[in-house]
Symmetry: C2
Subunit: 314 residues, 2 copies
């Protein structure tokens, strides 16, 4: 049996036909052009899917259904995107509309939840009954998997772990609140922290790395400069890891997942990231006398969105 | 059918026979005397239960089992208290030991989890698929109920919501970490905040309320003085409610329970507490465009421990 997954992003719509083992047997993407009418976006999604089905020659009866991972707050029961700040829609009945174009059942969930589902089925959290995947990007996405299913609360809008506090009334967060974890430990936050540090220490190697153009600083810059031995960068990285670890402790004390997976570009730092994280977590975790949550790096990379969305149809 | 519930506290062991409707048909308690050998505590627990059974004349075959709510970190699968700071035990096989005294199956869970289960079965969270009860006392206890069952993670030590951050590296917490919600929003924290405020404002009505003896300040004092119109007390109460609300927002953004129940002595403030809490929560919650978590006051009071423990056997 096959499953279609669609990762509906602010920049691109990426779709794939996924097999039972989580392989994308055929994939295709088009620009979202998110400012256009939503019906046009749905038409493009449908064309992507029919194009892939035609190309592979897979029979419609061998495809169990279509899953869509969308940004924002979807109501997965009703198949409606209630609200998204990224693609400008409100109360869009995306599943019904898609089903009009293709005779397959259509499912919907949040993109971060889909990434977590993918890691749970085929990635770093495979085999775990309870797992959580956090994705460090523009914000902090998060998905909680309990008994191999996405947990999204009574109103389908959990789990927004990026929007729990690190420092009450602290840094402004995109959600309107102050002091959220996301405002300290997302890739965006790390870039801000790197810029602030280098603008106070112009002799830092970071400055050379970006040829004096602070707009060229990305989430990798501080790690690269720290590897080179730059003191300013090392301080930025240590402080960032502290922010990340303290939020992860909150997640563990709340959910005690068997595996906590870190995804997003920053996770490519691998052991450079995981080892110091583990040290802080071990020190400050509430329950030291029980089995401890494993911290792992995500395995599915950018495919997680498509693969996880496809598994919604499983 | 009947169920026996035992609330094993640091001060008293309270036990009850509970019917299908959550009524305690017979109850009894003895002092824990927690410093003695744990086998003595178990003997007393067994005597309490057999005493109640004899007194009521309920047949053993009409009792489904015995549930024990204990402080600390129990392993509910193995029936072992892994660790408790309150009663000084480690890796105590409490269920096996109890079963040696009485021929009934014995179940175990954390006391805060039991309180949450009781509110879910018969109290403020009745009917909700997903609910959370927080208990404001010496610390902040918390229990997460998903699908009418206690959620306690892969290692049975969730959910310690009192030990998520309000202010990183802030006030010292009993768990060894700094800045936990419990260090700001427990009854203990409110008493500390009230003392600090009055010691800087000796003309406050609080000072009169306790006849100048700051040791007489309890978790009700600031609320009472604020009702009287005292400005110092009003500030303490407002700040406390802000601390409580911000932690509750973290809980809601993480779990999106249908109902979030507040228990413990402070919850007796009722609408004086709930209304200002709701105002802050509404303002800072992540998802404003979906159904919102209801905030309710616990209904079962001190019985919650016994009733919830009994429901472990259901």
């Amino acid at each position: 049996m096959y499953y279609v997954g669609i990762d509906l992003g602010g920049t691109n719509i990426a779709a794939g036909i996924v097999d039972e083992s989580g392989n994308i047997v055929e994939g295709k993407s088009v620009p979202t052009k998110k400012e256009r009418d939503f019906s046009e976006i749905i038409k493009d999604m449908a064309m992507l899917v029919t194009g892939m089905i035609d190309k592979t020659g897979i029979s419609l009866k061998d495809i169990k259904g279509i899953g869509i991972g969308s940004p924002g707050t979807p109501n997965s029961k009703e198949g409606i995107i209630v609200y998204s700040n990224n693609i400008k829609v409100r109360n869009a009945p995306i599943c019904t509309e898609m089903a009009k174009h293709i005779g397959l059942p259509v499912y919907l969930d949040n993109d971060a939840n889909c990434a977590a589902l993918a890691e749970s089925y085929f990635g770093a959290a495979k085999g775990a009954k309870y797992s959580i995947t956090i994705t460090l990007g523009t914000g902090i996405g998060s998905g909680v998997i309990l008994n191999k299913k996405i947990y999204s609360g009574f109103n389908f809008s959990a789990a927004e772990l990026g929007h729990t506090l690190l420092i009450m009334d602290g840094e402004e967060c995109s959600c309107g609140r102050r002091g959220c974890w996301e405002a300290y430990a997302s890739a965006t936050a790390l870039i801000r922290q790197t810029r602030e540090a280098v603008s106070k220490n112009m002799e830092s190697y970071i400055y050379k790395l970006v040829d004096g153009d602070l707009n060229r600083i990305n989430a990798k810059t501080a790690f690269d400069a720290a590897d080179y031995g730059d003191e300013t960068a090392r301080k930025v990285v240590n402080q960032y890891i502290k922010y990340l670890a303290e939020g992860m402790i909150n997640v563990i004390n709340s959910f005690q997942p068997e595996i906590l997976v870190i995804g997003g570009g920053i996770s490519k730092q691998g052991d450079n990231l995981v080892n110091p994280l583990k040290k802080i977590i071990r020190k400050n975790i509430f329950c030291k006398e029980v089995s401890q949550t494993e911290i792992k790096i995500a395995q599915l990379g950018n495919d997680a969105g498509i693969v996880g969305a496809a598994m919604l149809a499983k």
